[in-house]
Amino acid sequence: MSARGLATLLLTLIAAVLLSACGGGEDSASAGGSTRDATLVDEDNDGLPEPGPGELLLDRTEIAPAAPLQSEIARIGILNDPQIRDEESPARVPFLDRLGAPFTTTFRPHEALSTQVFAAGVNAIAAQEPEAVLLPGDLADNAQRNELEWAAAVLNGERVDPDSGDPGYDGVQRADNPDPFYYRPGVDAPQQPGLLSDAQQPFTPRGLGVPWFPVLGNHDILVQGEVPPTPELEGLATGDEAVERLDEERLERLDVPPDSALAPQLVQNLLAAGRLPGDTRTIPADPARTLVAPQEATDLLRDAAAASGADLRARAGAPDRLDYTADIGPRVRLIALDVVNRQGVSRGVVTPDQRAWLAEQLEAAGDRWVIVSTHQPLDSSVGGPEVLELLDAHPRTLAVVNGHTHSNEITPRDDYWVLSTASLTDWPLQGRMLRVLETRGGGAAIETWVVDVEGEGLAGKARELAHLDAQGGRPGGDRGEREDRNVRLFVR
């Protein structure tokens, strides 16, 4: 060893001793939970998030002035877009990821760890002691039955076997895949040998232990969140042939639409044929990868939620729609709207029937405070603005909670708040808590704070990878601004 090497080693040892003496290092970095106590930041921008100071609640009074808080009337957890994915599935298009926006969600460096991250998110939210948990969509990533089942198992604390096909990892991140546009944990930086095989191991999560209320998202029933299942796609998903690398010439010829809204059409065109042109590889077929029809998905979610104690009162005459109401305590009513476009594409659609049903439910809610939840934001959904106008007119509307955007954002509407929360898919991998309180004078307030997923084990590694992802939520600003996270929102 050279003198310089020796000196470096000694300094490293000294630093390690000092760090352990100070109680710093891994333990602190792996902390999750309420960001009111501590939150993960990367102040020095070295790519490694570290615990930063907690963020106290800020008062937001754009709608109503601050008023003295009285009793708590509901305590609700929110977990958004876990997008549990069967990353070994042949019905995926990860090779489009390299093209950049709008395909950046087709591959993520930590995608093999979605069940573990979701379980860590569930644990973090459960530790906040909610009485109910709202899941505003995209429990699954690719409309596969096994993905939805894994998600439900995580929520209910049942054994999860996240491996599909034959035992062991067999996806695009294999070390022997010579495609450098995928992060391969066994060989690429930061090297994580054994990560993929560990990710395939069955585990039994703790579960929420409280009723949970799902909202249907586009990824739950549309392949890649864009394309309705077809027999061809079903064959692709359950077949034994996977495209690993799209034919390079074809990839270069792809006419990527400048308008990202048109990109789904491109995905649809690629997938619709049921067979993708490119380098294919034979893989073990797995019937559990079967694609779910909307009816199957809603049935599965209703049954699983019922097992948690949730009482989902469905909209009459629309069994394949996950529209329902539910009371969270005596003073708060949840109305869930399923705005997924059955014809495909990720943009939401609100039908006239739904709007009418919503109007009835608002009326029926009486003097309960109402929280409306959709997956896609209403303001960008077809028919959504009209729904917002309907809500504007209802004096007990407290908040609209949506998913889909993967970012923390809180905006005031006339007399209520619209809340988006970061996803469990992209950095910052956070959930949210809502604490509803009545205020003196008959108003209400929401205390809300974001919650970091627990950072132990595989979820911690996923968090590190999600933070590094140059196409993920870090550069995308998904953490939001200060006023989008821990705030006290006053209504009337």
């Binding site: 020095d44 921008n45 070295d46 790519g47 490694l48 390299r98 093209l99 950049g100 460096p109 010579p178 495609d179 450098p180 546009f181 995928y182 992060y183 060989v187 690429d188 930086a189 930061p190 090297q191 933070h467 590094l468 992802d469 140059a470 196409q471 870090r474 550069p475």
Partner: protein
């Protein structure tokens, strides 16, 4: 302690001649140390120091021309990114200034706050500086340019030189064939109302140790960028080192060896001084001084002597070596250490003082433990057993006198052996450097010519008279795919590469270009060490077109090229993306190289030059190296001469009575010189033998290993060199004998007889 120091000063004042002699030895050894420190510190830290001063980015990404906004969108998203800036590089631009011109100019249109080069004189170009340019130091020196001069491109465009800059991302002009200037990108855009594309991104990591994660994300986010190449600081160092890296490594290794030799000399000189003063120790002990006080006294007098002598010697060595070292650094676009050298020199000075104090105190401590009577009688004088069988003439008497002081003899022999070894090593080094610049075989190349011809021309080349074999050769600089900071040079020959280029195989076997499965590769030991490769493992290489090529390592070769970070691979894996492709031409024995070159030109070769050797053959660069070696040789020769003269002077002084008797019986200066020759021969003969052996079996291999453990470097002196060194030492010995005899015989005989 103060009393001991005062006593030491008194003792030195009492015998000023002796003190001066001892100090001369320390000066010589310290000079050696100073030269070694200057060379090794200056060269080993040169790149890092210059990179820091120039704010060299952690990653330099080159790609085809792209819109800046497009690149910025991707780069801004990277993790661990502290800052970034972009450049547009235009190559092959005609440049002229001060009566000089070149068609190989490179203009960098720069922007942003961080530039990646250091301004040595003048100022940097600003965003609105349309008429200003910064020129590189190498260009400024070669063309004798100053701030305020004008540099032009063609007859239309000219810039005022506003600054002289330097960046260690390449060697300096003219060692580098192209010359570079920096102009303001924003000013060009403003003046000509257009948006410059960019083709370089300079990235600074927040945490340089985690640059790999930045690179990994950069690669994943780079689809569509053409001809993308990442070069990290380490890669730049390797690339720059290609011209002189092995030379620097050898010089540094040589300096380290010289440092060790200087240490040994210091210790030996101090030790010999104590041996000479054993009588004094006996007297001190006889008058009741305790053992510790004796040792401290000697250590103190050694330290008192070494402190100023060390300063003088270190200054001398630094002065001698600083010029050539600075010139070498300039050639490499690196900066001299300047004030940063003070620290290492101070440390060296402390080492000098400590070594002399210890080497004086320790033998005194040991000697003081002996019986006082023995000390007073001079008990180190051996019984004359070894003298039996020796000649009885003056030469033989000299031998016997030398053997009578075995400790001194051993010390002198040790110093001479070290000098001999270092000088021989230096000569071997010089020969090796010549080989590295002249002889392609130093890279394992077995072909003599390269012709810039299409691969299809190979059959025509083979048909030329005097050509034994010819095959296309491809070369491509890429990066290791699993460790993107590590540079890799891929070399591919069509067919079997062994007849054309085959560094020695250290492990495994030669590659089979037609093997099934993953293509096979022989990797250099440098690459194997950097990436942890061995036969059976996988080498993954990121090619500029975004493709990852994988190879099965079947052999490890001791290649010198590119710091050993090379891989021999089948030609078809690199032929498409290769940076360089040419026909390697092997000549038949006795064929005329010129005739074959003419034939190649007739075939349409753009160039038909000799195969490249391991380092540049730039005359100025080699002259600088020669100057550096001469400087070290000069200091080393002084040390050698000092050791000889010190030994002789001491003997002559101690044996002045014996010499006086000889002179009284009719012996002349020649006899005295012969006697002293016997004294010096007793030390020189074994020292030369030991020195040559030391070089051959210890210092040579150690230096080669220190410099380039990944390659086979032969640092063994040739027979003629060894003989030359032996003769040189003999001449020094003869000179020393003559000189001391001359001084000794000036003294009246009666003075010596009185002492007897």
């Amino acid at each position: 302690m103060r009393a001991a120091l005062a006593d030491a000063v008194r003792r030195l004042r009492a015998a000023p001649g002796r003190a001066a002699l001892a100090a001369a030895g320390i000066v010589a050894a310290a000079a050696m140390l100073g030269a070694g420190v200057t060379v090794s510190y200056g060269l080993t830290t040169g790149f890092e120091r210059s990179a820091q001063q120039a704010d060299l980015p952690d990653v330099l990404a080159r790609f085809g021309d792209e819109e800046r906004e497009e690149v910025e969108e991707r780069v801004a998203a990277l993790p661990n990114l502290e800052q970034r800036t972009y450049r547009y590089e235009e190559t092959s631009v005609p440049l002229s200034a001060n009566g000089e011109s070149s068609e190989d100019g490179v203009i960098h249109a720069v922007r942003g706050e961080r530039r990646g080069y250091a301004i040595l004189e003048g100022r940097d170009v600003t965003a609105d500086d349309l008429d200003g340019a910064v020129v590189e130091r190498g260009v400024a020196q070669e063309w004798d340019l100053e701030v305020g001069d004008t540099i032009s491109s063609g007859s239309q465009i000219s810039w005022e030189i506003v600054g002289i800059g330097v960046s260690p991302d390449n060697v300096a002009y003219p060692l580098a064939s192209s010359l570079r200037i920096y102009v303001s990108g924003p000013a060009l855009e403003e003046a000509f109302d257009f948006v410059l594309p960019v083709n370089m991104a300079l990235l600074w990591s927040t945490e340089p140790e985690r640059t790999d994660v930045l690179l990994q994300q950069a690669r994943a986010n780079s689809y569509g960028l053409s001809d993308l190449r990442f070069i990290t600081r380490e890669g730049v160092e390797v690339a720059v080192g290609e011209a002189a890296g092995i030379v620097i490594a050898l010089l540094v290794a040589f300096s380290i060896v010289a440092l060790a030799a200087a240490g040994a000399m210091l210790a030996t000189a101090a030790h010999a001084d104590v041996q000479r003063r054993l009588g004094t120790i006996g007297i001190q002990r006889a008058v009741g001084m305790d053992r510790r006080a004796v040792a401290v006294g000697f250590a103190a007098s050694g330290a008192v002597l070494a402190a100023p002598a060390g300063v003088l010697g270190l200054a001398l060595g630094t002065l001698v070596a600083a010029g050539p070292t600075g010139a070498l650094l300039l050639t490499l676009n690196e900066l001299p250490p300047g004030g940063a050298l003070v620290g290492p020199l101070l440390l060296a000075w402390l080492v000098v003082v400590a070594v002399v104090a210890l080497a004086s105190g320790w033998p005194a401590w040991r000697a003081a433990g002996r019986p006082i009577v023995g000390l007073l009688r001079g008990s180190e004088v051996a019984r004359p057993r070894a003298a039996r069988g020796l000649s009885r003439g003056p030469f033989g008497l000299g031998l016997r006198l030398a053997l009578g002081r075995p400790a001194r003899l051993g010390g002198t022999a040790l110093v001479l052996a070290a000098c001999t070894a270092v000088v021989t090593l230096m000569l071997a080094l010089a020969s090796l450097l010549v080989d590295l610049s002249d002889d392609p075989a130093s890279l394992g190349k077995r072909y003599e010519l390269t012709a810039q011809l299409d691969a299809d021309s190979a059959p025509d080349v083979r048909a030329l008279p005097g050509v034994e074999a010819a095959t296309p050769r491809y070369e491509l600089d890429a990066t290791a795919s699993f460790q993107l900071g590590q540079p890799v040079r891929l070399i591919g020959f069509e067919g079997d590469h062994v007849p054309f280029e085959a560094p020695p195989l250290a492990d495994g076997r030669r590659l089979d270009p037609d093997a099934d499965g993953l293509p096979e590769a022989e990797v250099g030991a440098g690459l194997a060490e950097a990436l942890g490769l061995a036969p059976g493992s996988t080498l993954a290489v990121q090619l500029p077109d975004g493709v990852e090529e994988r190879f099965r390592v079947v052999g490890v070769v001791r290649a010198l090229d590119n710091d050993g970070r090379v891989a021999y691979v089948p030609a078809d894996t690199v032929s498409q993306a290769a940076d360089e492709s040419a026909i390697a031409v092997k000549l038949t024995d006795g064929a005329s190289q010129a005739a074959v070159q003419a034939g190649l030109i007739d075939l349409g070769a753009a160039d038909a030059g000799e195969a490249e050797a391991a380092t540049t053959d730039d005359a100025a660069f080699l002259a600088t190296l020669a100057a550096l070696l001469r400087a070290v040789a000069l200091v080393n020769g002084l040390v050698c001469l000092y050791a000889l003269m010190q030994a002789l002077a001491l003997t002559a002084r101690e044996r002045r009575g014996t010499i006086a008797v000889l002179r009284a019986t009719g012996a002349g200066r020649g006899h005295v010189a012969l006697l002293l020759g016997g004294v010096v021969a007793a030390a020189t003969i074994p020292a030369v033998v030991a020195g040559l052996a030391l070089q051959r079996w210890a210092l040579g291999p150690a230096t080669a290993d220190l410099a380039a453990g990944y390659a086979d470097l032969q640092l063994t002196a040739a027979g003629a060199q060894a003989a030359g060194v032996a003769v040189g030492v003999a001449l020094l010995a003869a000179f020393a004998s003559w000189w001391v005899a001359r001084r000794t015989t000036r003294e009246p005989v009666v003075v010596g007889l009185r002492e007897e």
